[in-house]
Symmetry: C2
Subunit: 345 residues, 2 copies
């Protein structure tokens, strides 16, 4: 079974955008507020909206996508904390409906109603609601300011209430920023990758997993710059008198495989243990075109993993399925309940 | 000849730090201002201070280091524009003296008196002074705020006066941030690498080299995350309707080789044309320890380049010498004047 742990709902029906426009317009003119959070999207329309994802699953040979709302759409820095709560709830409910309609194709990851300068503990009610709806994880934004990085680092106690709840609920967090309102940072070309690199270095500097040995953190986009600069990070761990990266971080930190060319995936799989890599494509995501050098989509990352010669069958199983079951135990439980226990490795 | 294009003066005599402390203390209490910018460091002491660099050059087999003030020391966000001007002048003068004393070992790159929110054109007098002192390039900080990214992107006309002057003086700019006052960003572990990635993406989004076809930009630290995510950037160029990266950027943008493990250097040299890579070690820089996995210093990057099997002799010449002469034409002219013309490739 091939599990793609990083897919966003980037094919939403236009009613979703109409709602969001009205909701934000309502901040300036209350008369423009949407009259209802019922978008009037029926199940057929919802299934039709994820047809592109289903087609890619079949064409590329993946089975199940861990699916969350559009990352750039979270926009925690926009509007008010209250509009953010309503928007998160609505976005998560759509994911829930899709995953309920197509449980063999999608498992749900939620967005949190974070707001810059507001304690993340305000997200706990939504986090508990997500757990009650069979979500298997959440996206956690390390920079709710949208590119100005005004909240504390991830190792600060500011974030601890969320970590406590995540551990209690057996949910991992994927560290994922949203759109950027800072003109210095293109969202998919700079802000996302920088956030991945930044999160890893914050974890390296701190001792978060001493306090949360059960917490699992997924750093997407192949870990940002980290695997490419693995020597730098090993050296920085030495300079900062930390244990080796393997002991200090890599029982708790995992990288996805959203790297859009073969040499990048080859480096990732060469440098990072196969225990710490999760297959992912981010589809339909940052880069949607066909690579003229290969004739295949840039984000058809399965091809790259398949091409890496030195991976054993066991390595491949871990990357494509086993690690996802380990990092997302709620998904594993759901699959077992449906008669799909996975392999013992 | 082996040219290391990225070295910082991180072994300054303590008198430099004493001066800086007094200078900044003087902002709070004018009575504490340093009485003179003459640090009382004689030539012998200056030469002794770069003994570690000279030893490493000999041990590792490099000849000449392009040498600039400590990057984290620039701290453009600290103090006032005036203290920054004095500090830049003093820092650059030390580099000038070292390069004059040891012209076969060091060539000078300067720091600019940038200040957050202040037009970079205020740096032009120092830039012209540097040219008169035979400096071959400058470090340009894309984020003088020190981690809050409050100035415009590098493609904004805000920066054009500096680019015009750089082209006139035949100087390249290495894009290099300084220390971070944002607790989210460790300087060498996050801020530096993020700035590299950010700068490349800004250049990708813009059309700077249509206006400045002669401008040369060096992105250090192996190009940040860019080569590892080269497929992403090729795909983003397509999505943004830009020419290929080769046509759009790679006549003007160069990456250094400060990547501290073999797999990273192998990827860099595999993905990026040998016309666009400049040998560098950042010594003595971000990571100073010996890698326990190899028994050699992490930043002994020449070993990694030497180990890459698929590089031709011509590739190696370009990476170790030829590209540095091309990107730093003032250095090439100085070397020719000293009877070292380089090879024709």
């Amino acid at each position: 079974m091939i599990i793609d742990i990083h897919g966003h709902y980037t094919t939403e029906p236009s009613a979703v955008h109409v709602f969001r426009d009205k909701q934000l317009a309502g901040l300036a003119d209350p008369a423009r507020r949407p009259s209802s959070a019922d978008l009037g999207i029926n199940d057929e329309a919802l299934i039709a909206s994820v047809r592109p994802q289903l087609d890619f699953q079949r064409e590329r040979g993946s089975d199940l996508t861990i699916f969350s709302p559009r990352a750039a759409g979270m926009a925690h820095h926009v509007g008010t904390e209250d509009t953010g709560k309503e928007w998160s709830r609505l976005s998560n409910d759509l994911i829930h409906r899709i995953c309920t309609l197509l449980p063999d194709n999608f498992a749900a990851v939620g967005q949190l109603p974070q707001f810059p300068g507001v304690s993340p503990k305000n997200c706990i009610p939504e986090l508990e609601r997500l757990a009650s709806l069979d979500f298997v994880g959440v996206n956690l934004n390390p920079d709710p300011s949208g590119g100005y990085w005004t909240d504390p680092p991830l190792t600060d106690r500011y974030w601890y209430p969320v970590y406590e709840k995540l551990v209690e609920l057996q949910m991992p967090a994927m560290i994922h920023v949203t759109s950027s309102c800072n003109p210095n940072f293109h969202h998919t070309g700079a802000h996302y990758i920088n956030a991945d690199t930044t999160a890893f270095m914050q974890l390296l500097q701190g001792d978060l997993f001493r306090d949360f040995p059960e917490l699992k953190i997924v750093i997407p986009h192949g870990g940002g710059a980290v695997p490419y600069h693995w020597g730098r990070y090993r050296g920085l761990a030495m300079m900062l008198k930390k244990p080796t990266l393997a002991d200090h971080l890599m029982k708790n930190v995992f990288f996805d495989a959203c790297v859009y060319h073969f040499p990048g995936i080859e480096l990732l799989t060469q440098v990072i243990s196969s225990d710490n890599i999760l297959f992912a494509s981010e589809m339909l995501g940052a880069v949607r075109d066909i690579d003229p050098e290969t004739g295949h989509h840039f984000d058809d990352t399965k091809r790259y993993v398949d091409r890496v010669e030195f991976l054993s069958e066991e390595d491949r199983y871990k990357i494509f399925e086993g690690n996802a079951r380990k990092v997302y135990p709620r998904l594993d439980a759901q699959l077992r309940k449906r008669g799909k226990p996975g392999k013992v490795v």
